[in-house]
Symmetry: C2
Subunit: 561 residues, 2 copies
């Protein structure tokens, strides 16, 4: 039975929304954004009583479709002030779906000081005191949760960053090893969940894989798709997403020293090869799946020189933004910072960009590893500099008087310089999510356009945003490729699973409808089409001596008109 | 000859816009907001190349109409992100008008590091290096300017706060004594002017009083009006605007300790009577006119105990917000803080509210006078805490994790608790200017409504905003009273001066048209009707045990629909 669970933190009342058929064939981002758009006042304080946070597995999450373990989380973002969806792998999504939960809505705000653990089992939902883990870092809290609830029990967890109300705080989800390393990273959803009074959610129920309506056809499609993915994505399996370090450096789009340069002279020290070598030599691992049913397995387990666990899931964007964007070129140092961010529940991207901006503003030197550690620790200890950085790159930069602040709609760019990768630049500028590559990344060569020419990029970005939306609502990892070639497979899986008969056009229309809901929410929240642009310095300051952002402003503005 | 001067700081080119008849009968805020709305991209960086700052005397500025010396300044605000007009008395407006200048538009951004002094005489306009006064405080810079250009020469001046790019920086204008004590205070226009590369504007020209078209009728009307004002506003003349301390305390709307209370137990120490007594006993002065032709003379010159000049123009809002709102009850201490703000070019209101929020956030104690001085100095010295406070109350509060932040649209409330004065509350919530009492203040008893009841307040505020707009476009000080009873006189003065034949309804329609232009600019800039509300805590936290802000959200939202 499909169900929607609603937790009202004002009264600690738990209810089930009436099961309606209309949510049967939506899920993931379509459900989180739809509920937020319908139920949340666009002008509300993101950390106040009127915001809500919605967790929803994708349509295919919990099925045997490959790479379909994503769990979407949505709210009004304390970072952008607009609607936000951030989705995550790990073990929680599949269990939620298997337990028949379409959406978990948490609303209101506990008037009690204590925080709660929300435990959801098959036949019971309860709130218990989180006192033993309040203010605890994620690894310590995770240890407690696995001890209390079993080491295979998926959890969803807010770190001290979220408890401190920082708008760059993440929501962590358990990985396959029970570690808190999968993060709904962007937009400060950790601060929203904590503001409600929730420290952790434990999913102690069970359930079978969800059965498709058209069993045989679904089985065939998913098998072919799994084969295609496991053979076609071997670089990701072998080197992790860090395979992109060299690719993006080659494309000249690797952010260095707060987006001053697009290539890093010490790139060989932070490449995917280094990552894979270190993992192999020290007893770590690449080819680590982040959720059951993943066939790409781009995650990794990274050990230090002594062979002890240092961090898991060291990603390209983290390496670029906490690494070369801050003048760091030592993979072990970057891994340590990644661990700190995971442990405190901080978005590595927003943190990296905020640190880069702080370096530009003179708060510390580029490459000052110890200074970075001190500032990251200060974020959760509540030092003034820490709290400032914790507001994200925009507030940090403005306060320090920096004019080169790489943000759109209040959110830091991820690890692709927009001047050298103009499809992604268009996504940064136009996505209702703010500058977020996961909303429609156009990697080098992917669109068939000249990545450095503005021509056709806005249209290509819009297509990528729609295809990405399909991944996000289906619960598919974007590494299956939100590209036109994947559309037939996504359509087939959707139709077979639900017994529907959508055309590809109808699938795209469904995706666009959700995007428009998001755009409309944002308009009311004060993010209008006029904010569809990149910061001025990308338009005036050249990269590689001749590249600027020259996307037509009118096209960016009118992408969703 | 009416003229518009345009200074392009990109090229340092000076040009005159073609003199068109359509600007003949507009001025002040109608002209600044009209030009900003037409020429400035709503999404531009307020401190970037694309913003413009416009200075325009009111329609009647430069005439013999009483209290008509106001000079409007307008730009996209770095504080609110929306359109801003802030008008100011002092000696500059009348001279600009007498020289035939309808508007001065400063655009672009100097690529040179040096700042400039813009000198405008009757037959020449030139830019010279501001090197001798760069980074100098306002009193020092003013001394230089009066020595160089003559002690009666009006000037317009940016302090170190503006040079530091702080979004609460003011533009100072010379008073009748040549001191930099009249400030276009709100919305950070000082940072905008400095960002263009301008440190000071000197008006070394001359010109006669502007002659009205209908000489006799104008003369009669202005004489009667002057008589009415000089007899009807004697409390303002005698006690300055500080007369409001007791009035607003009595009404229960005096902000105390970051709007925690509405009455101050030490109110007798900071009243208008204390101000007047100190002025008289120490060789200062009340009844000091801020510009030629003022008949109300609400300004003052305040000396210290030794009889030395301490500050000029110590206003009610400063006393309330830097005083009791921060737990201070010593008039001399408040006067010293007022001087510091004037000298550095900082809005005393935004500064007071930001300090109150910082006190609530634990950065310093309420009543910590030395701590306040240190933070204010830090704003221009560039300490991190100073720079943080310099971003205004909202950023300060968010960074410190404060939930009670008294701002609307990013701008601090002025010195009237909205729970006890609901007409002003409606203006705070709905004005395109953000929380700004000068956009339509509904003082106790003024509207004829119960000031504590929500009934009719939105309509009353809208009327006050239109009448205030008429003052602002005519160049009349709002102390002439933007009330229905003044409308016939304002209409008569306008018609006689220009030889027009507007009805009162047409006057109000003209005002509303400008308000709508401002609203429309804001919508594009991301300030929509959904932001027409007060912070949540005013709706949930009682004042005097039973007062909350209970203005209907729908009415606030649709005031300009």
């Amino acid at each position: 039975m499909k169900k929607t669970i609603r937790i009202d933190m004002d009264t600690l009342a738990i209810s089930h929304d009436p099961a309606t058929d209309d949510i049967r064939h939506i899920g993931g981002r379509a459900l989180t954004s739809g509920i937020i758009a319908r139920e949340v006042p666009p002008n509300c304080d993101p950390l106040g009583r009127d915001n809500k946070i919605v967790l929803a597995p994708g349509v295919l999450t919990g099925s045997s479709a490959p790479c379909s373990g994503r769990l979407s989380m949505g709210a009004k973002s304390p970072l952008t002030g607009g609607i936000k969806e951030s989705n995550v792998g790990g073990t929680a999504g599949r269990i939620m779906a298997s337990m028949g939960i379409k959406a978990l809505i948490i609303q209101g705000k506990s008037t009690q000081k204590e925080r709660f653990i929300l435990e959801i089992s098959n036949d019971n939902i309860k709130l218990t005191s989180a006192e033993p883990i309040e203010q605890k870092d994620n690894y310590s809290a995770a240890k407690y949760l696995t001890e209390q609830y079993g080491n295979k029990t998926p959890y969803i967890l807010v770190g001290p960053g979220g408890e401190a109300g920082l708008p760059l705080a993440t929501v962590a989800v358990s990985d396959m090893d029970g570690r808190p390393t999968r993060h709904a990273g962007r937009g400060g959803l950790g601060a929203v969940l904590a503001s409600k009074g929730i420290k952790a959610i434990v999913l102690s129920g069970k359930g079978p894989l969800l059965a498709p309506k058209n069993t045989e056809s679904f089985k065939e499609t998913r098998k072919a798709f799994a084969k295609e993915l496991s053979t076609g994505k071997q670089a990701l399996t072998k080197f992790g997403t860090a395979v992109l370090v060299n690719v993006i450096n080659e494309a000249g789009a690797l952010p260095v020293n707060n987006f001053r340069k697009g290539r890093f002279d010490q790139v060989k020290n932070i490449s995917g090869e280094v990552l894979a070598d270190n993992c192999q030599a020290r007893g770590g691992k690449t080819g680590h799946g982040c959720h059951p049913g993943c066939v790409i397995k781009c995650s990794n387990v990274y050990h230090d020189k002594e062979g002890n666990h240092l961090t898991s899931a060291l990603e390209y964007e983290t390496i670029a933004l906490l690494g070369c964007n801050c003048g760091l070129s030592d993979m072990d140092q970057i891994a340590e910072l990644d661990f700190m961010c995971d442990n405190y529940g901080l978005d590595t991207m927003e943190t990296g960009v905020a640190l880069g901006v702080a370096m530009e503003g003179g708060l510390l030197e580029f490459g000052d590893f110890n200074g970075m550690k001190e500032l990251i620790t200060g974020m959760v200890q509540g030092t003034l500099t820490g709290r400032l950085l914790g507001q994200g790159a925009l507030v940090t930069g403005k306060t320090l008087g920096v004019t080169r602040i790489p943000t759109v709609k209040g959110q830091a760019l991820s690890a692709y310089d927009p001047r050298a990768l103009k499809g992604t630049a268009a996504t940064y500028a136009t996505s209702p999510m703010g500058a977020d590559h996961t909303a429609g990344n156009c990697l080098p060569g992917r669109t068939g356009l000249d990545d450095r020419s503005p021509k056709g990029q806005v249209a290509a970005s819009k297509e990528a945003q729609k295809l990405t939306m399909l991944c996000d609502l289906l619960g598919l990892c974007i590494f299956v490729g939100p590209i036109p070639q994947t559309l037939p497979t996504m359509t087939q899986l959707f139709n077979d699973f639900l017994g529907m008969n959508h055309t590809e056009e109808e699938m795209l229309a469904m995706a666009e409808k959700v995007l428009l809901e998001e755009v409309q929410f944002n308009e009311k929240a004060g993010i209008t089409k006029y904010q569809n642009d990149l910061p001025e310095f990308f338009r005036t300051e050249t990269l590689h001596s001749d590249l600027v952002c020259d996307l037509p402003a009118e096209e960016l503005m009118n992408i969703y008109n």
